[in-house]
């Protein structure tokens, strides 16, 4: 592990999108790290998986829909997006997401991918 080690950040998203600001707070961090050309991966576990589901529409409940910003991930070179299969199954949810490049991982693979990051922040 040399001084030139490239660090990478994992953002572990675990809250549903609207009632809680956690998802938006994590997104703001992801975009800043992306704009500083730092490597960021997004993980979705527990109720965090609701953030990814297709067909949501926050405008119905007067939310400025930050989920639409997820479409900008490619622009920021954020292309590693993992979702926990166990969390989807528990909620009876299909792998039908509102952004592309989402990888569904089984529990073991999800846990393994987390270990490839030096810093893990959970929201």
């Amino acid at each position: 592990m040399a001084d030139t080690l490239i660090k990478s950040l994992a953002l572990l998203n675990t809250k549903a999108p609207y009632s809680n600001t956690a998802g938006k707070d994590a997104l703001d961090i992801a975009l800043i790290f992306g704009s500083f050309e730092q490597k960021v991966s997004l993980f979705f576990q527990g109720d965090g998986v609701w953030q990814l589901m297709a067909g949501q529409n926050g405008s119905i409940i007067s939310v400025k829909d930050y989920l639409k910003t997820f479409a900008a991930f490619e622009f920021y070179d954020i292309d590693t997006i993992y979702v926990c299969q166990t969390s989807l199954t528990q909620r009876n949810l299909p792998a039908n997401f509102h952004i592309e490049q989402v990888q569904v991982l089984n529990q073991q693979a999800f846990a393994q991918q987390l270990t490839l990051h030096q810093t893990i922040l959970r929201f």
């Binding site: 009632s19 409940i61 007067s62």
Partner: protein, 133 residues
């Protein structure tokens, strides 16, 4: 169209409402609370007051800045306060814990009445229903 009161026996109508708000303005939970309150008022429910407690006290903080394209809870409270003379009671003890002080009154939005938990006792006594949001 709707029946918003419930007549019990002959001469007692149950439609006095009080609401306690404990969620902060930057949460979508406050949108729901405001929707509930506005709907009640529009339908003629007698809303005797709203009491702000716990993180709900941030609604009264005159310095709160929410991005202009996001939901502005304070402008909705102002509208309801003006249109319906809706009393808005701020629990000052909960507020002080969160940095909202009445030593400098410009810290507190003037539509709010500075009060304490005694006001909650009063609301609870007067209201037919006290609902938490």
């Amino acid at each position: 169209m709707y029946n918003f009161s419930c007549t019990i026996f002959r001469n007692k109508t149950v439609n006095k409402l009080a609401v306690m708000i404990t969620t902060p303005p930057y949460s979508n939970l406050s949108v729901t609370a405001l929707d509930y309150i506005e709907t009640a008022l529009k339908n003629g429910v007698e809303l005797i007051g709203v009491f702000f407690y716990q993180d709900g006290v941030l609604h009264a903080d005159a310095h709160v800045q929410i991005a202009s394209d996001e939901f502005q809870a304070i402008s909705h409270w102002r509208k309801l306060h003006q249109a319906y003379k809706l009393p808005l009671y701020l629990c000052i003890t909960a507020a002080e814990k969160r940095g909202i002080s009445d030593e400098q009154t410009q810290n507190i939005s003037p539509i709010f009445t500075i009060s304490g938990l005694g006001e909650l006792v009063e609301l609870s006594t007067m209201a037919d229903r006290l609902v938490q949001f």
